[in-house]
Each structure stands twice: as C-alpha cells, then as structure tokens.
C-alpha cells in the first residue's frame, strides 16, 4: 500500500515528457467540467420528487399523505416537493445532507426497516421529532426558502395568523413551532393520546 502511494506521488510530481502543457490543461479543465456537471446532475436528480418517491416506503406512506396537503396542490399552483423542505438549498449543507442520507436512509432502505404500514407507524413519531428538532435548530431554514417574513403582508392574513406572525418577531418562535403536520399526518400520540395536561393550574 505504502509503495503504491509512493509510486503515485512520484508519478504525479514528474513532469510529463509526452503531453504538452496546453493539452494537459485542456484535458484537465474538460475533465473537471464534466465531473462537476455530472455531480450537479446527480445532486439535481436525487432532489426530484420522482427520485424521492421511487422507494417503496416513501411512495406507499409518505407520498400519499403529502399528496393531500397544500404543499402538493393549492390555489396559487406553486408546489413544494420533498427536497424543498427536507434538503438544504445552499451547496455545502446540501452535500452534507446527501452524505447523511448515504449512511442513514440508504442502509435502512436496504435493510427494509420500514417495509410495512405498521413499521412506518411505529417509527412515525421518532422520524417526525427528528425533522422538527432539525427545523427548530436552524430557524426553519428550508421553510424560509419560500416563506419570508419580509414578503408577508400581515394585513391579508386572518387575525389568528396575523397575531402569531407578529408575535414571532419578539418570541423567537420559528415556523415549525406552529406548523407541524402540514405535509404529513401528525404522529398519533401527538393528537389522540389524552396525555395528562402539563398544566395543573387552571386559574389565570
């Protein structure tokens, strides 16, 4: 192994006696451009709705719920697909997320961790909480890719929304604090279980 590395290093440092500098430069630039282009194509392809829903677990469970949501169809005809919300838009965090997918989602897909409805429901809460924690930690960065406070006309909102979005400026709450379960169903335990209320004081 060490000999191989030494040989490579020596070859890399030895000027070429056969190829001209111009040829090497052109070939290098071309190879770089093709490599970068191919990389971009791979990143773009793995960001499409078709790619995300090509796996059975996404197609059968997640996609069906998302199709009922206003992020899929709505009055304005703008669609937010999986990657708009779940993959960062800037290059470096996007690559990190793709890298994470290769050691998290891919192995679990191969292992068949979520093959059935029961398995999906059993993991729903844990998966949702992961996403919520992530969105909370980055101030709902992906939501804000489309929804910015600056572009919001509060006067056009219903009083409830207007009040909350005004509060947001001072309370440091973020989109996901209120807008959970908008593209997927909420975990059952979050809505159905009559948990004993955390509050035991009912006076004002």
């Amino acid at each position: 192994m060490r000999a191989w590395i030494r040989r490579f290093w020596t070859a890399a440092r030895t000027p070429s006696a056969r190829w001209g500098v111009g040829t090497l430069l052109v070939v290098g630039v071309l190879a770089g451009a093709i490599g970068w282009g191919a990389f971009q194509v791979v990143v773009a392809r793995t960001n499409t709705l078709e790619f995300c829903t090509s796996c059975h677990e996404m197609q059968a469970f997640v996609y069906q719920e998302y199709k009922q949501s206003p992020h899929f169809t709505n009055g304005s005809g703008v669609r937010a697909i999986c990657s708009d919300c779940h993959v960062p838009h800037a290059m470096a965090p996007k690559l990190w997320r793709k890298f994470q997918a290769t050691y998290n989602e891919l192995p679990n897909h191969v292992l068949g961790s979520i093959d059935t409805r029961e398995e999906f429901e059993a993991h729903r809460k844990e998966m949702a909480e992961h996403v919520w924690a992530k969105m909370k930690s980055n101030d709902s960065r992906e939501c804000r890719g489309c929804h910015t406070r600056e572009a919001m006309v509060l006067g056009k909102q219903k009083p409830r929304a207007r009040a909350q979005h005004t509060d947001m400026l001072t309370t440091h709450e973020t989109c996901i604090d209120c807008h959970k379960g908008i593209a997927h169903h909420l975990p059952k335990s979050a809505v159905d279980e009559k948990k004993p209320p955390a509050e035991d004081d009912f006076s004002l």
Partner: protein, 320 residues
C-alpha cells in the same frame, strides 16, 4: 266598557298617556336608537369547549398563548363561523354527535344605549332552521353576560369564564349532574375535569358577591306570539336568579327575525347586580339558544367590551 272612552275628558286622556309612558318598565322609546351603532356579532356552536379545554395545550393549541395573555378574539376573531361549521360537521373532538341539522353559527345584530335610568341592549337575528324534535317550553333565548372587571377570565374569554368541563352536557359531567355555570374562583381547585363540588367556604363566596366578583346575566325567553319573559341573575358558585328582579324584556317576531330589547336600571338593585357608570370598562358576552336548544347547545360569542358615553369599547352605550 264601550261607554268608557266617552266619559274620559281630553286632558285626562293625555294624563293617562303620560302616566302610562312614565310607568312602562321598558320605555325604550325614551332611548334615541338612531345614534346607537349596530354591530354584527357572529355567535358559533362551541361543542364541549370548556374553560379547562381552553387552558389545556394538548386540547387547544393556543393554550400557551392564552395563558401568556392573549384573548380568544386575539386569535379567533373572524373565524367564528368556520369554527362552528367544523364542530357541527360531526365526528369532531368537541362534539362527536352534534344536533342534526344544527347550523354552525348565528349572526346576532346588537345595539346598546342608555337613558337616565336604564341600560338597554337591542338584539335582532334570524332563527336557524327548525330541526329540534324535542320542543321544550322556550323557543329561543337571548342572553347577555356582563362583568365590570371583577372576573378577569371574563375579559379574556367572555362567557367561557363560567363554562366548565363538569357542567350539564359537558365532557366531564357526572351522569345526572345538574351542575350549571359557575366561576372557577368559587371552587377549592380546578382540574382538567372542572371544579367539582368542592366549594370554597360560604364566607369566601359571600365576600366575592360583595366585591363584585361575579358575572351578571340578563336573559329574554321567547315564544312566538307570546310576551317575552325576562330573567336576571348572576353566576358565582352556580347560576342564581337575582334576589331583586330588575331585568325587563320586550320582544317581537317580525319579518322572519326576532327583535328583542333587554334592559335594567343602571344602578345596582342589590347583591348580584353591577352598577353601570360612564367611563368604566365592562366585559360582555352574548348567547342565543335557538330552536328550543337547552344548556350547551347554544350559539355563543367571544369576548366583547362595553362602555357608557364614549370610549374605545366594542359597544358604546350613549345616553340621550
């Protein structure tokens, strides 16, 4: 009898008229209604949403905001009809089986005014479809609940200050329970299931009554073709009728609408009645029991404010 008018001299007739006007308890003719601005209040069907429900985050996602100081209207004004429609659609957590054919909301038009002696509320509304198969003895009721700052829950949540989870027909009501409206402050402790039957000592309740820590209500009970019945009272440990009845009701059903005037002297007539004076802010809430509805099967408003003779309240009752 027929000969009677002939024996009346003209001056006597005038005198009789003046006396009749002066003695009429609901002399709303004395009020200049033209200056009273009518306001539309959308009442909605609340299902089993109690005070405790409002305060529980797991049930009501706005509970934290509410506890933090927001009023109901701060978030829900403008949504009343939508909320009601959602609840009467059926299968809702707040009422799995709402009365068949019950509309989700009712539009109540309200005006208020006062004269030298009395405060008046004038209501009109179109009844919803007659669907209730169990016709009781009252076709409709309109109620106004009033507070002068003694009950902070009422300024924040209107009638919900008195609506608890263990009252008749509510989610935590014991079978056969006759618990009516009451204030949380009258109970030793409130839990998610309401305040139960553990009342504070009598002396505490009496002190609350003496210090205006109660809600007052005026109600008109209506049946077409019959005079309205007025009911006045207060809510503290329970819904109690006034010891010195003072509320009057005038009603008429015409043009497909109920027209009702409720009034009471500005001055308190005894325990359980508020004093109405200019400048002081009052909290008001409205309810209509339409189509022979009983108990919680009513339409309710969120919280509103009232002032006499000017101010920024939702309702400003002006004098002559």
């Amino acid at each position: 009898m027929n000969a009677m008018p002939h024996r009346f001299h003209a001056p006597l007739r005038v005198l009789a008229c003046v006396l009749a006007l002066g003695l009429a308890p609901v002399a709303s003719a004395a009020v200049d209604w033209s200056k009273a601005k009518e306001r539309e209040v959308v009442l909605f069907y609340p299902g089993q949403a109690s005070w405790e429900w409002v305060m529980t985050q797991a049930d009501h996602s706005g509970a934290t905001k509410f506890r933090g100081g927001k009023n109901c209207r701060g978030c829900h004004d403008g949504e009343q009809a939508d909320i009601g429609a959602e609840i009467v659609a059926g299968g809702h957590k707040l009422d799995a089986h709402p009365p068949a054919g019950k509309p989700g909301s009712l539009h109540l038009f309200v005006r208020t005014a006062h004269d030298a002696d009395r405060l008046y509320f004038q209501f009109r509304w179109k009844p919803g479809p007659a669907k209730n198969p169990t016709k009781g003895d009252t076709a409709a009721r309109v109620t106004v609940m009033l507070d002068d700052g003694g009950i902070k829950e009422s300024a924040r949540a209107g009638c919900w200050a008195s609506c608890h989870d263990d009252a008749i027909g509510m989610a935590s009501a014991a079978p056969g329970s006759k618990t009516t409206k009451y204030l949380g402050g009258s109970r030793v402790k409130l839990t998610r299931q309401g305040g139960g039957t553990q009342l504070k000592p009598d002396a505490d309740i009496k002190a609350m009554l003496a210090s205006d820590a109660f809600l007052e209500y005026w109600q008109a009970r209506l049946n077409p073709g019959k005079p309205a019945t007025a009911v006045g009272g207060y809510i503290l440990a329970e819904r109690a009728k006034a010891t010195a009845p003072a509320v009057t009701a005038d009603a008429e059903f015409s043009g497909g609408e109920w027209h009702v005037t409720l009034s009471r002297p500005l001055k308190s007539g005894g325990p359980g009645q508020k004093n109405f004076v200019a400048g002081k802010p009052y909290a008001v809430g409205f309810a209509v029991h339409d189509d022979y509805a009983e108990h919680r099967h009513h339409f309710v408003s969120l919280e509103y404010t009232l002032q006499l003779d000017g101010g920024t309240a939702d309702f400003v009752a002006t004098g002559k």
